[in-house]
């Protein structure tokens, strides 16, 4: 029982090569407990995205195995949903149709249940007013909310997020970070969030996995919640503990750059 809850998502000695190019060379080991918010932090092109994609079944490990609740991860399915930085919602569907699309391949849900859930998640991300609007007519931040709502409505237990706020301006990004944290704790989901932004990582994460340059290797495994607590508000950003942690990580990143 205990083993099941702590060993929720497991990377067991995973490596990856694309042709002759090693992306993850040193076997990658990581155990993610249920409902943890894990941030993969590292330089662009280091292989962190590939690791996240493999956990979604979108890429296959060259060796090693990824397990979700003891079951090896095969093809992609609703249990692990993706949120991309761009092209994250379908332009030909309205906001509410986009959210409902998440349940299109769920014949187990009744029509009534689908309707209820679409409504619930639309409200959760604060887009009920824009239900009948097309994605091209709302802001980039709202489009990312649509994507989050769609993934939640699909019933994904693990949210895989690939720099989802990378294209947004600073204000919207902060606002969405606060909301994502709130949604994640309200809905109890596990998140793997890929970014190269240190401040974003510290603000969002329960735990930060810091990566080296390619081929990806873990440099540090940081327990953020132990130091900052689980509640994340805008005020936290101005606190000294937050600032110290951010500075320390930025220094580690710099040292790594100098040493390689």
């Amino acid at each position: 029982m205990n083993v099941r809850t702590t060993e929720y998502l497991v990377f067991d000695g995973v490596t990856k090569r694309f042709g002759g190019l090693p992306v993850v060379d040193t076997p990658f080991h990581l155990t993610v407990p249920r409902n943890q918010f894990v941030v993969f932090l590292g330089p662009s092109g280091c292989g962190k995205t590939t690791l996240m994609r493999m956990s979604g079944g979108l890429d296959t490990p060259s060796s090693g195995e990824i397990r979700l609740e003891g079951e090896p991860v095969g093809k992609p399915d609703q249990r692990r949903g993706m949120v991309f930085q761009s092209y994250s919602s379908f332009p030909w569907l309205t906001v509410s149709q986009n959210v409902a699309f998440g349940m299109r391949y769920r014949p187990d849900l009744s029509k009534h249940e689908k309707h209820r859930r679409a409504d619930h998640y639309l409200r959760l991300v604060g887009l009920q007013e824009f239900a009948d609007t097309y994605p091209n007519r709302i802001s980039g931040g709202m489009r990312q909310r649509v994507a989050i709502a769609r993934t939640l409505a699909a019933g994904s237990e693990v949210l895989l997020m690939d720099e989802p706020f990378g294209a947004l301006d600073a204000q919207r990004r902060e606002q969405l970070q606060v909301e994502l944290r709130r949604i994640q704790s309200e809905e109890s989901r596990t998140v793997i969030f890929v970014t190269h932004d240190v401040e974003e990582a510290v603000f969002l994460a329960d735990r930060i996995i810091m990566f080296s340059r390619r081929p990806a290797r873990i440099i540090e495994d940081i327990d953020v919640t132990a130091q900052l607590g689980a509640a994340r508000t805008l005020a936290l950003r101005d606190s000294e503990t937050f600032f110290r942690m951010k500075t320390r990580i930025i220094q580690t990143v710099r040292e790594m750059e100098v040493n390689t």
């Binding site: 979108l58 993706m82 769609r150």
Partner: protein
């Protein structure tokens, strides 16, 4: 809405829809006027290039004689039939080529080869195969559009963002569901644009087919008038083709704007 002139003339500036139409009509009218004046002044030999007014008069006479409407309908019918055949074949084959690498590997060299053959060069062989009936015309039109269209469909399908496909996969969609629910919907606006452009090419091949082997259609009307050196009638026939092309193009554009209105962004 009235926009100041400097804005319209700024490099890559903006223009209102109304102004756009007015400028288009005005420019066309100006060209016709210069042409007409040149004819009045006697600078143009009417046997070589009749004036717009003469062409309009001939066109009216031809309409009254019953030469235009019926033959135009025959030509349009041939184009629609051949084009529908091309599209109905090209769309599924193109989708398969873009979805499955071996299908693409097998078909692409052949399609590319045939695509570069000049359609008029295949007129003799198509007459040997199909005679001078409707089949030859449909075949030539199909030949001229199908192979181009297949590659355009492949291209449109390949340009569907990978993110859409992967989102669908993580939502549990199977390959044919991804194809119908995602790829097809995502590529449709570009596909309709490509169909519109390809439809225009049909007229070229149709006139060739109607000149070579036909006793009906606008191509026949034009070629018949040429035999008697009735330049005004030749020009009238050409004018009707241009008009039909313009009308169908504008119609499809208007439909495109309406059906794919969701593409329009506010910023």
């Amino acid at each position: 809405m009235k926009r100041p002139l400097p804005e319209a003339f700024a490099f890559r500036g903006s223009i209102s829809r109304r102004a756009n139409v007015l400028v288009g009509l005005g420019a066309s009218f100006a060209v016709l006027l210069i042409w007409q004046i040149s004819s009045w002044k006697g600078w143009l030999d009417p046997a070589f290039l009749p004036s717009p007014v003469e062409i309009a008069q001939s066109l009216w006479t031809m309409v009254l004689e019953g030469q235009i409407v019926g033959n135009a309908l025959v030509s349009i019918g041939r184009i629609l039939a051949a084009f529908a055949l091309s599209a109905v074949m090209a769309i599924p084959i193109g989708l398969l080529m873009s979805s499955y690498r071996p299908v693409n590997a097998a078909l692409e060299p052949m399609v590319d080869f045939i695509r570069y053959l000049p359609t008029p060069a295949l007129v003799p062989i198509s007459i040997i195969w199909f005679g001078v009936g409707e089949e030859t015309k449909i075949f030539l039109l199909w030949l001229g559009t199908f192979f181009q269209l297949v590659l355009l469909v492949v291209d449109d399908a390949n340009r569907v963002p990978n993110e859409y496909i992967e989102i669908a996969r993580t939502l549990g969609a199977r390959p044919f569901q991804i194809l119908l629910d995602i790829a097809w919907r995502a590529m449709l606006p570009n596909l309709v644009d490509n169909l519109r452009i390809t439809l225009g090419w049909c007229w070229t091949y149709l006139i060739i087919a109607e000149i070579v082997a036909s006793d009906s259609g606008l191509g026949f009307v034009i070629w018949n008038a040429r035999r008697y050196m009735q330049t005004d009638r030749v020009m009238a026939g050409v004018f009707v083709i241009g008009l039909i092309g313009l009308a169908s193009d504008q119609l499809i554009r208007a439909l495109h704007r309406r059906v794919f209105g969701y593409l329009k962004s506010t910023d």
